[in-house]
Symmetry: C2
C-alpha cells in the first residue's frame, strides 16, 4: 500500500473529547472516527488490526472444535421474554419496533438466540458436545459511553457457546476455551493474566476474566507472587482474619461530637481503624435497607454483597431513607439495636464477627458505642465474606501477601450450567433414555476492546507501538526525498521485495517533509521503519529503526530482508 | 470436519413457509434458521459459503485499489436529515431511540456516513481518488419479507463508495468496479449478465445491474443476440416504431357497449390492438392524475413514467379520482378533450404519436373514439419513451429482435455524481485552487443474496449443486459402513489426504444407513461424493460421483487425489 493512497488521516492535535490514551491515539493516527457517542467507524488501519485479531481468534476457536456461524443482530423480543431478560436488561438494551409494531432488540449477547436454535435441532446426546461461535457487532446502550473503544455502544465480540451432556463435559469445554484464550492473548503479543471472576448479571458461577495488564485498566486485580492465584478484586475470596484474644468488656456509649469518619473517630478516641466497625447503608430496588459491616480499615465489596443479598441492584442509601428506616444519620450508623427492624438487613463481614471491644456508631448524632462485641451486642442476618481484598492481604490459596495490578477485561469465560437450557427448554435425550437440559458455557472475547487494550499497554509519547502479530503493517519504507530518483527507485525495490517475502510493508511516497513522515510513522506505530536516504544510496546502508526500542540498525542490500525478518520474529 | 460433529441439521420435509427453492433447500440442508420474518441465522455451512463469497469480493475490491473499513450499523439521524433521506426512506428504515431519546436508524446503506467521514478528512485533490468499502449487515424493513435470503430484512452487503475529482475520474472508478463485478460473479461460478439499469430512488444516473440468471428471478431483462446490449426491462430504451402512412380521417364516436378491455374493443370493432391507444390513469402523491398512453399491444413502464413525471410514487388511480378529475370511468378513458384540465397530466409514449386513425376511450360509458389522430386530436404534456420493452422488440442499439430472460439482481454499480457531496458539503480544493464537490459512485454486492441466487441457478430435485468456488466443502467422503474397520481406515486416510492437498473434505462418520448419508450429501450439494465401500476395500476402486452431472468414476488408491483435483478444476 502506498501511503499517498492510504486513507489514514492523521491529526496533529489531540481531540479534546478523548480521555484515555488509546482513544486519543486512534483518533490522531487515523484509525477511528466517531459517528455518535460510543459509536465509531473503523478506518482501514484499524480494520486491518481487527481482522488480524479476528483471524487469531478464529484459528484458536476452530482448533478447539468451534464451528463458526452468524446469528442476527436484530433479535425478536419473545425469546428474551422467555428467559426474563427483556426486563432485566433495562435501558442498557437498544430496543426497536418494526413496521408491524413487533418488538426487537439489538443483541447485547446471544444466549437466547443460540439456545433457541440448538433446542430446535438437537435431540440426542449423539449430537453433543457442540461449540458454536460468531464474531459480530454487539450493542449496549451504556449510560455514559466513554474511553473510545474501551466502552462503546457498538463493539465487536467473539462469542462462543458450548453445549454438553453434563457438567464433566462442560468442564472439558471450559478448559478448552480457557486454553484457547490463553493462546489468543499470547499470540496477540499482549501481557495478560487470567483471573477468577464474579459471574455477574449473566448468571451461573465459575468464571475467569482475561485481563490485559495496563495502568489505565478499569478493573483491579490481585495476584499472588508465590502461587498461581489471581483474581478480580471483586471476586477474590478472603478468610476471616484471626481474632484477637481480648476479654469482652461492657458495652457503653461515648460522645464523639462531629466525628463522622473512621479516621476522625480513631484520632479522637486514640485507637486504630482495626478496632472500629464501619457500617455502610445501601438501598435495594424495593426500597429496603442493607447495612454492610466491615472492619474500619477494610472496604465493602459491593459485588459480593449483591450476590449475598440476592438482589439486582444496590445504591448508597439516601439520608432520608436512613432517617426513616433506622432513625440514624450517616457517620453514626451502627448495627446495635437494629436486629428486629423490618426492611433492614444486617450483613457482616466474617472478620467483623471475630472482633472484640470494637467501636461503632450508636445511631444518634455525635455518639458512638465502645466495647462492642459482635454476636453478643448484635446478630447480623447474614455473615459472609463481603470485603474487598487489599494489597498485602494473605493469598486465599497459599497465605503469602498478594499484589495488586490494573487490567482491561478483554475476554471472559463463564459456566452457565443449565440456566438458559432450563428456561428455554433446550433438552436432549441422553443414552439412558432420559430427557435432560443441556449444560452450557459461554465465552467472549472483546475484539475491538482488545485492539484498544493493546494500545493502552503499548505506546509512548510519540504514538502507538504495535505488537507485531496485530500491527496493521509490519514496516514502513520512507524515502527521504521522493524527488531523488535513486532513493525512490531503491525504496520502491525494498517495498516490493518486503511484500513479496511476507513482510507487510507500506511505502510513504507522499510529497511531504521527512519529519512529517517520521512523525506519522511513530504515531501509527509500525514496528519497523526503513529509511532510504543518501546513506542507503551512497553507502549501501539501509537504516532500520525498531519502534519499540528506538534501536537503529544498518543493513546492506543483500542482508536487509533477512535482518528485518529476524527482527520481526524476535519482537 | 467430521459430519458427526458438524452442526448441519438436515430436514426431511420442506417447511411450509418456504416459497422459493433456495429458501426451501437452505432450510432443509441445515444452512439457515429463521429468527423472525426476513431475519435468519447462518449456520456453519452457510457461513462457509458466505465467507468464500466475501473473500472473492474482498480480493477483487482490493485489486482495484479499494480499501476496506467498517462503519457503524447504528447511525445517528442527523446525517440522514441533512440529505433529506430521513423522511424519504419511510417505513422501510428501521428506526430507534437511544436512552437519551436521540434518533438512530439501522443503516440500509451508507452514503451519508461515508460522505460525512470523507468530508471531515479529505481537503485536497492530492487525497483523491478514494475507493472505500465494507462488507456488513444492512437493514431494510420490507413490508413483506419473503423468499428467504432473496429479500430479507437483515442481509449482508458489500458496499464500496468512490470519490473522484471529476466525472472522468468517476468513469474510471465506475469501469474498475464494473470490471471487478464481472470478475466476482465469474469467479463465483455463476451465469450472469450485466444489464443497463434504472438508478432508482438512490439517485443519480448511469447504472448497471449484475443479474444472476434464474427462472425464479424477480427481475425481467432483455438482451440482444446480435450485439452486446442487455438491460433491465425497466431501463431498456425504445425508439418510436415507424409510423404507418395512412391518411388522417375525421374523428368520430362509436358505441362500444360493455367493451372495457383492449381485447374486447378490438374484437367488437374488428381491429388489431396496434390500432388502439391504451390509457392508464395513475395518481401522484399529491393527488393529481397522470394519464399514460401506450399503443394497445404495449405495456407502460412505470419506472420510466415515474422518472419522466418527476414524482416519488405513482399508484393506479381510484375509480373515484377518475370520476372526479376527468369525469370518466376505467375502460373508457382517453386523452381527447382533456388537455386543459387542472391536475391532469397526459404522457404519451413516442410510438403513440406516430399512429393514425386510432381507437381510444371517449370518457363516456360504452363509447370510444375512432379515427383518433394524435397531435391533431390531443396534445400530450409530455411525449417520451414510457413503454416496456418486449421480446422481439428491436434492440435499441442494433435493431435485431431482443430476447428476454429473468434474473436475480446480485450487484449494482451506480454513478451518484455530486448528489451526496453537494447536500453534505463534501468538497475539496482542486489544483486550480477552487473548491469543488467530490464526484461519487456507489457499488453494491448482495453477499447473502448471491448465495441464494447461486442455489436458484444450481439445484435439482435432490438438492443444491454448489459451484466449486463457493461450495461449503469440495467433497464428502462416505464410508458405507462405519462398523467395517477396513472401510473406515481407508475413508479416514482419503479424508486426511484430501485435506492435506487443498481439497476441502468432510467425512460422514455418522452411524447412519448409507442411504441417509447419500441423501444428505445430495441435499447439501457437495460437488463430489467419494464412496468408500466394499469395492474400494476389495478391488482398490474408489468411487467418485460428480453431483452436477451424476457421472461416476473409479480411481485407484494412487490416482484418486489427482483425479479429484482435476475434476474440481474443471467443474
Amino acid at each position: 500500500m502506498r501511503v499517498s493512497q492510504l486513507f489514514a488521516p492523521t491529526l496533529r492535535e489531540t481531540p479534546a473529547e478523548a480521555e484515555v490514551i488509546s482513544h486519543q491515539l486512534m483518533l490522531r493516527a487515523g484509525f477511528i472516527r466517531k459517528a455518535a457517542g460510543g459509536i465509531y467507524s473503523y478506518l482501514p488501519l484499524a480494520w486491518r488490526v481487527l481482522k488480524k485479531i479476528e483471524t487469531i481468534v478464529r484459528e484458536e476457536m476452530d482448533a478447539k472444535g468451534g464451528q463458526e456461524l452468524s446469528m442476527p443482530i436484530i433479535q425478536p423480543a419473545e425469546m428474551w421474554q422467555e428467559t426474563g431478560r427483556w426486563s432485566v436488561y433495562g435501558d442498557e438494551m437498544f430496543r426497536l419496533k418494526d413496521r408491524h409494531n413487533r418488538n426487537f432488540c439489538l443483541g447485547p449477547t446471544h444466549e437466547e438466540m443460540i439456545t433457541t436454535i440448538v433446542r430446535g435441532d438437537v435431540r440426542s446426546y449423539r449430537q453433543l458436545p457442540l461449540m458454536l461461535y460468531q464474531i459480530q457487532n454487539k450493542y449496549r446502550d451504556e449510560i455514559r459511553p466513554r474511553f473510545g473503544l474501551m466502552r462503546g455502544r457498538e463493539f465487536i465480540m467473539k462469542d462462543l457457546y458450548s453445549f454438553d451432556r453434563d457438567e464433566a463435559g462442560l468442564d472439558e469445554s471450559y478448559n478448552k476455551m480457557y486454553d484457547a484464550y490463553t493462546r489468543i492473548f499470547t499470540r496477540c503479543g499482549l501481557t495478560f493474566r487470567a483471573v477468577e471472576a464474579d459471574s455477574g448479571a449473566i448468571g451461573g458461577s465459575g468464571s475467569h476474566e482475561f485481563m490485559v495488564i495496563a495502568d489505565s485498566g478499569e478493573a483491579a486485580i490481585v495476584y499472588c507472587g508465590d502461587c498461581e492465584y489471581a483474581a478480580n478484586v471483586e471476586k477474590a475470596e478472603l478468610h476471616p482474619i484471626t481474632p484477637d484474644t481480648e476479654e469482652a468488656l461492657s458495652l457503653s456509649e461515648k460522645e464523639t461530637p462531629g466525628m463522622k469518619s473512621i479516621a476522625n473517630v480513631c484520632q479522637y478516641l486514640g485507637i486504630n481503624p482495626e478496632k472500629t466497625i464501619k457500617t455502610l447503608a445501601y438501598q435495594t430496588d424495593t426500597g429496603s435497607l442493607v447495612l454492610a459491616l466491615v472492619r474500619g480499615d477494610h472496604e465493602v465489596n459491593e459485588i459480593k454483597l449483591l450476590n449475598k443479598v440476592g438482589c439486582l441492584q444496590l445504591n448508597m442509601a439516601s439520608e432520608e431513607a436512613i432517617a426513616t428506616l433506622i432513625g440514624s444519620q450517616a457517620g453514626y450508623i451502627g448495627p446495635v439495636g437494629l436486629a428486629d427492624l423490618k426492611n433492614v438487613t444486617i450483613v457482616a463481614d466474617a472478620t467483623v464477627m471475630k472482633m472484640h471491644n470494637a467501636v461503632c456508631g450508636a445511631n444518634k448524632p455525635d455518639l458512638h458505642y465502645v466495647n462492642v462485641n459482635p454476636d453478643r451486642d448484635f446478630k447480623p442476618a447474614i455473615i459472609a465474606d463481603i470485603r474487598l481484598i487489599q494489597a498485602s492481604d494473605p493469598c486465599p490459596r497459599c497465605g503469602a501477601p498478594v499484589k495488586t495490578a490494573r487490567g482491561i477485561e478483554a475476554g471472559q469465560v463463564f459456566k452457565l450450567f443449565t440456566k438458559y437450557s432450563t428456561s428455554l427448554q433446550a433438552t436432549f435425550i441422553d443414552d439412558d433414555g432420559k430427557e435432560k437440559p443441556m449444560v452450557m458455557g459461554c465465552y467472549g472475547v472483546g475484539v475491538s476492546r482488545t485492539m484498544a487494550a493493546a494500545i493502552e499497554q503499548n505506546y509512548d509519547q510519540n504514538g502507538i507501538i504495535w505488537p507485531v502479530p496485530i500491527a496493521p503493517y509490519h514496516a514502513v519504507v520512507v524515502p527521504v526525498s521522493i524527488k531523488d530518483q535513486a532513493q525512490m527507485a531503491l525504496a520502491e525495490k525494498i517495498y516490493q521485495e518486503l511484500n513479496a517475502n511476507g513482510v507487510e510493508a507500506v511505502i510513504d511516497d507522499r510529497n511531504e517533509r521527512p519529519g512529517v513522515k517520521f512523525k506519522d510513522a511513530d504515531l501509527i506505530g509500525y514496528p519497523l521503519k526503513v529509511t532510504v536516504g543518501p546513506k542507503a544510496v551512497n553507502e549501501n546502508l539501509i537504516e532500520v529503526k525498531v519502534r519499540r526500542t528506538g534501536e537503529t540498525m544498518y543493513f546492506g542490500p543483500d542482508e536487509y530482508l533477512a535482518g528485518i525478518q529476524n527482527l520481526l520474529a524476535k519482537l
